[in-house]
């Protein structure tokens, strides 16, 4: 009777391996202990050896397939030997059994056949050292930790019996990073002057940026907008009779104001990516990047496209102040549909902003400069997710943003 070729444990219960290649084709002969196929796990590449001498009767998986640990991927036996009926071919483990690292009992044997060999008892997985002990944290603390990307294992609890409370998580998220005071070590290896722990806001930023760049298909388009009208208008606003008592308006406010009004007309850009469906919005919740001592924060202004300039400006300034004071609440940074990042104040002209996933667009604003004709030109860098929209649509949206900037003073005229 045929002998099964089984995938060994991947070392990580429940984790599939990928079949890389078969070394012996169907009909080819095998020798016990010699490689018959190669698999790749998350950690390494493994040769799977033939359990017996014989002929490969059947291959049940092909290169590139995910193969579960302990699953049967082929049969070795005498040429012409009958194999099991097709419906019993795959010895899939139930999710539960996989989770526990155990195989199901052998399938019922066919009449007259010898009992199938009992599948080897898989090793009982050792307690996973990496798995943290159960953490005592309130449901609210868990929710906040999830929203802020805080790792609860690194938070000290102040509640009864050391339970982590929501406030503990919030404090951890904004904790100033402190340098470790490790003693100097003699070594030829270069020593860092400081090791900054990747935690709190740094960790959130790191995870988000990494996830964004590893998942989205980011393309950046650039073009200029003529900023003359906008700058003149800003002057007029600042010198208008009501200016002294009104909220101070900045160039950045005008840019956010114009961008929100342009983007609302491009739902393909004002959208979020999800494999289950790209969610387009007819409202603009406009995020904008704020650089603080604690790190990068992106507060969101709800329904920015509907706000009058003064309303927008006061909300933006309040959010910036809260961000710098570490008082920004998680929900103030949620539900954005499009983001603006302005590096113009730091002298940058062009850059490739990284998408604030799952949003499909982010506008980078550079430092304005004059051209040969004396016009003030503002560099715009629009990154979009090519999974969600194509270059033409993005270019049209960018053109509209530029137009809105050029006509910002009359956007609300009609």
């Amino acid at each position: 009777m045929a002998t099964e070729i089984r995938i060994p444990t991947t070392g990580n219960a429940g984790e599939d391996a990928v079949l890389v290649e078969w070394h012996v084709d169907v009909g080819g002969s095998t020798r016990e202990g010699e490689p018959v196929l190669t698999i790749e796990t998350a950690k390494s590449t493994l040769e799977v050896v033939a359990p017996v001498d014989g002929t490969v009767l059947e291959q049940r998986a092909k290169p590139g397939d995910d193969v579960a640990e302990f699953s049967v991927v082929g049969l070795i036996g005498e040429p012409g030997e009958a194999t099991h009926p097709a419906e019993t071919h795959t010895h899939e483990l139930s999710a539960e059994a996989r989770a526990h690292g155990r195989s199901l009992p052998p399938e019922s044997t066919m009449g007259g056949e010898e009992p199938a060999e009992p599948s080897p008892e898989p090793p009982v997985p050792a307690p996973d050292a990496a798995r943290p002990a159960r953490i005592a944290a309130s449901p609210r603390a868990r929710r906040v930790a999830s929203a802020l990307g805080v790792d609860l294992t690194e938070v000290d609890g102040s509640g009864p019996l050391g339970r982590i409370l929501a406030g503990d998580v919030e404090r951890a998220a904004v904790d100033a990073t402190t340098a470790t005071d490790a003693p100097p070590v003699q070594s030829v290896v270069i020593q860092p002057s400081a090791v900054v722990p990747v935690r709190g806001v740094r960790k959130v930023t790191a995870q988000r940026m990494h996830a964004s760049l590893s998942e989205a298909a980011q393309v950046t388009l650039t073009r200029y907008a003529n900023a003359d009208s906008m700058l003149q208008w800003l002057d007029r606003i600042r010198t208008s009779p009501g200016a002294a008592s009104a909220p101070r308006v900045t160039l950045n406010d005008l840019l956010l104001y114009a961008t929100a009004r342009a983007v609302v007309g491009h739902p393909v850009l004002n959208s979020r990516f999800d494999w289950d469906g790209i969610r387009q919005f007819d409202r603009v919740n406009l995020g904008f990047a704020v650089d603080t001592e604690r790190g990068l924060f992106v507060p969101v202004i709800r329904d920015a496209h509907r706000l009058k300039l003064g309303e927008l400006a006061s909300q933006v300034h309040a959010a910036i102040e809260r961000a710098r004071g570490g008082r920004l609440q998680p929900d103030e940074m949620a539900e954005g549909t499009f983001t603006v990042s302005n590096l113009g104040g730091l002298g940058v002209h062009w850059f490739t902003p990284v998408l604030n996933a799952p949003q499909n667009g982010i506008l980078g604003i550079g430092a304005a400069h004059r051209d040969g004709d004396g016009r003030m030109l503002l560099p715009l860098s629009l990154t979009f997710d090519h999974r969600a929209l194509d270059g033409g649509a993005a270019a049209r949206a960018l053109a509209d943003i530029a137009t809105a900037i050029e006509h910002v003073d009359v956007l609300d005229a009609f």
Binding site: S138, P139, R140, R142, R143, G159, P160, R163, L165, A166
Partner: protein, 822 residues
């Protein structure tokens, strides 16, 4: 007010002899010729016909239960069938003289009384009014089935078809039955024909009928009330309480002339000589003859007599005499109607407790056979008339049965489909139309009432210059209740008040002090120490159309009125299928400082029985507003008041106690204090200890507690509480109810489920320890204190920097206490 009844020591100490007088036994004797002259041959035939129809309904149920079919119609009935075969003369004789407006209250074995009363009312009712009643009941749902499928050219027969269909459909739990199929046969009733609740609680009808009769007496309405109760029910306290309540001396001695007289109620003892199997006479009771009871109750011996209940003429004669006594104002009347149940207690009864010889001898005395024998002998009817009427009865019952079991036309309610439907049947949540109320009769005008004038001189707010004012200077909780009662009783004459020591004394805690000067005795009287009758009479009073406000002196006395509160007051709205209203308020005082039997907060216990609204105000403004809402509302309400608060001025609501009659909505909690760090929910007087705790949390720990006073336990709207918990993430609940079974655990479970991800700590419930309430000196070991609240916050929810716990156990539940039985 001064005492009206002086106690003269010379009279009291004079020697003499108490003579009880005699009680007639089977005294009725009249030749048939006399009854023919009195009632006419047609009426005599109708008596026989009615007995046959009463029995046929029972035979049908018996056949359905035992054989799964009746006259070829197959049906499986899940419910009980407590039959009364052999007792037909009693049922038909009782109903014969009754007017349609007279009311009968039955027992769990009252199919016969229901059918007989219905037949009597149909025979006597004005045809157009009858048709109007039948078509209107339950929005015409029952009527449409009868009209379409049991139509008859003869309006009397059509009405009989309606009666039999309504009863059958109700028995089988059909939406088209008398009570939407929610009462069942033991609880069927149909007020338009004077058929008031059957009652599955033994003797349960006695206090209810007493209350309905009280309504007639105090409201000057005509009509008498019959309580059909079994012989074995005379072993129960509520039945004795009812006998006395209906006979109490003030009804004839102290009421004004217009309202004077004993209650127009007939305690009609259906004496079939057995409980289920136990025998009152000779075994379980000492009276030797049921009618003897009358001699112990009042000088008229309740006009008691023992009669031959197997002779319809003897029953009719007794009912006729009873009416004469009642019309003379000397009710109540007790009739010991001796009959015999030929059927078992239920179809499963093997009758092991009685002999075949006894059964055979009573079968030979079958009231129907004997009655028709006499009519034929005397030439009133032909010899074949009985079998013709029997065939008619079979046809009538069979037709009703066939329609009643047809799921297409007689469907059942789908109780789970729409929660609002059962909620609407349990509580109507409506208020009385002020236009339909006549102004209340009062002894002086509201404006001239001295006590009200005194209250009006006080401050409406209990805080002056940031300091609390004494109750002598500011309107107290007690004053607020007084005002609410004055406003509502002046506006609606249907409200009447009774309870222990209510008149003159003004209630044990002086809440009614000054009210005796305002309300005449027929609107405010002292009840006997009879908690069951106080509540049960209120239920009957409300079912009859009144709006009682009655009082239990202490919550601890709820046990004495347990059945009346939990099986009568709570049940009749839903058991009627929401077709009657029971507007009734019971004020219940929660004690303090009086130890184990006088200091229990049983408000939580009350919430466990569906059918009662449960209110527990904690401030003077809320007490006034909620009592006004309860008294104007059309639902049964338990209104708890803490004795700790009677002298408490209004310090919570900055607007104070309104002068006017402003209602407070029932079910909406009150936001007492705002805060972002912790939510505290309290019930009743615990509010003030929570206020103190909130102050200390603020001053000592910088923690801002948001404090919510539940005010109403049933119904309770969660919106405010959930919004608060979503903000603070923390909830502590406290009341004076025992921790185990506290209503606050229901709240805790609901909030934990609804706001789980917002919680920053376990919802913590505090309550009185699961011990007896100790004497006053030890009381604060038992009840929740402000210190207990701080300890619970510190240990369970949010450690308080520098807080030192009290020694001993905290006020929250711990498993080790539970294992000890605490």
């Amino acid at each position: 007010m001064v005492k009206e009844l002086p106690i003269d020591p010379d009279d009291i100490r004079r020697s003499g002899e108490l003579k009880l007088g005699s009680i007639p036994v089977n005294a009725y004797e009249a030749p048939l010729a006399e009854e023919r002259r009195r009632y006419g041959d047609a009426a005599l035939e109708r008596i026989g016909r009615d007995m046959l129809l009463v029995r046929e309904f029972e035979l049908m149920l018996n056949s359905i239960k035992r054989e799964g079919a009746y006259l070829g119609v197959a049906y499986n009935h899940l419910g009980p069938a407590h039959l009364s075969i052999g007792q037909e003369a009693q049922a038909v004789g009782q109903a014969f003289t009754l007017d349609p407006r007279d009311k009968v209250f039955g027992s769990h074995r009252s199919h016969g009384e229901v059918v007989a009363k219905g037949l009597s009312a149909i025979a006597k009712a004005e045809p157009n009014a009858l048709r109007e009643d039948l078509t209107r009941w339950a929005g015409g749902e029952t009527w449409r089935v009868v009209r379409d499928l049991l139509e008859d050219d003869d309006p009397q027969q059509l009405a009989i078809n309606y009666l039999m269909y309504g009863m059958a459909a109700e028995t089988f739990g059909r939406r088209t039955g008398f009570n939407r199929g929610l009462g069942g046969s033991m609880h069927a009733f149909f007020p338009p024909l004077g058929i008031y609740p059957n009652n599955a609680i033994v003797g349960g009808s006695a206090p209810l009928a007493t209350g309905a009769a009280l309504y007639n007496r105090l409201r000057n309405e005509d009509g008498l009330v019959v309580a059909s109760i079994g012989d074995a029910s005379t072993g129960t306290g509520p039945v004795w309480e009812s006998f006395n309540f209906a006979s109490m001396g003030q009804l004839r001695g102290l009421m004004d002339e217009a309202h004077s007289g004993g209650l127009p109620v007939i305690f009609f003892i259906v004496n079939n000589f057995y409980g289920m199997g136990g025998q009152p006479i000779g075994e379980t009771m000492g009276f030797e003859r049921v009618a003897r009871i009358g001699a112990g109750v009042n000088p008229e011996r309740m006009h008691a007599q023992s009669i031959d209940g197997n002779d319809p003429f003897a029953v009719i004669d007794a009912m006729r005499q009873a009416r004469e006594h009642i019309e003379a104002g000397t009710g109540p009347v007790l009739i010991d109607c001796q009959t015999y149940r030929l059927s078992g207690h239920s179809p499963s009864d093997a009758s092991s407790y009685r002999t075949k010889e006894e059964l055979d001898r009573w079968a030979a005395a079958d009231p129907i056979e004997r009655y028709f024998g006499r009519l034929v002998d005397e030439g009133v009817v032909d010899g074949d008339r009985q079998s013709a009427l029997k065939a008619w009865a079979e046809q009538t019952v069979r037709a009703a049965l066939e329609v009643a079991i047809d799921d297409r036309v007689s469907p059942r309610m789908r109780l789970r489909d729409e929660p609002e439907v059962m909620a609407g049947l349990t509580f109507n949540s409506t208020s009385a139309d002020p236009a339909e109320a006549s102004a209340g009769e009062t002894s002086v005008a509201e404006a001239d009432l001295p006590h009200l004038q005194a209250i009006r001189k006080k401050s409406r707010i209990g805080v002056a210059d940031g300091a609390p004012m004494p109750g002598s200077k500011a309107v107290t909780f007690r004053d607020a209740i007084f005002e609410a009662i004055v406003h509502t009783t002046a506006a609606d004459d249907r409200i009447a008040l009774w309870g222990e020591e209510n008149r003159d004394w003004g209630g044990s805690f002086g809440v009614y002090r000054g009210l005796t000067e305002f309300l005449p005795r027929h609107r405010l009287f002292n009840s006997p120490i009879s908690e069951a009758a106080i509540i049960g009479a209120g239920v009957g009073f409300a079912l009859a159309g009144g709006r009682p406000l009655v009082e239990l002196m202490y919550a601890d006395f709820i046990g004495r009125a347990g059945d009346e509160l939990f099986n009568q007051m709570a049940k009749w709205q839903p058991m009627s299928g929401g077709l009657v209203q029971l507007p009734m308020v019971v004020r219940i005082s929660v004690g303090a400082k009086y130890g184990a039997q006088h200091s229990q907060d049983w408000s939580s216990m009350a919430t466990t029985v569906p059918g009662l609204k449960v209110l527990f105000p904690a401030t003077a403004r809320d007490a006034k507003g909620l009592l006004i809402s309860a008294l104007r509302g059309n639902d049964p309400v338990l209104f708890f008041e803490s004795q700790r608060l009677y002298d408490q001025p209004e310090v919570v609501h900055p607007e104070g106690v309104p002068v006017d009659a402003l209602p407070t909505p029932i079910g909406v909690p009150n936001l007492v204090r705002r805060g972002d760090d912790l939510t505290i929910l309290t019930v009743g007087a615990t509010l003030y200890r929570a206020l103190e705790a909130a102050k200390r949390l603020h001053e000592q720990y910088g923690i801002e507690a948001e404090l919510i006073d539940a005010r109403s336990l049933v119904p309770f709207e969660y919106d405010m509480l959930l919004e608060s918990v979503r903000k603070t993430g923390r909830l502590l609940c406290a009341s004076d109810a025992n921790l185990r079974g506290s209503w606050l655990h229901t709240v805790a479970t609901t909030v934990t489920a609804e706001a789980f991800d917002d919680l920053d700590g376990p919802v913590t419930v505090l309550g009185a320890r699961n011990w007896i309430a100790p004497p006053a000196e030890l009381e604060w070991e038992y009840f929740v204190t402000a210190d207990d609240i701080l300890d619970a916050v510190h240990e369970r929810i949010l450690p308080l920097s520098g807080h030192v716990m009290q020694p001993g156990r905290g006020g929250w539940a711990v498993p080790s206490d539970s294992a000890l039985g605490l």
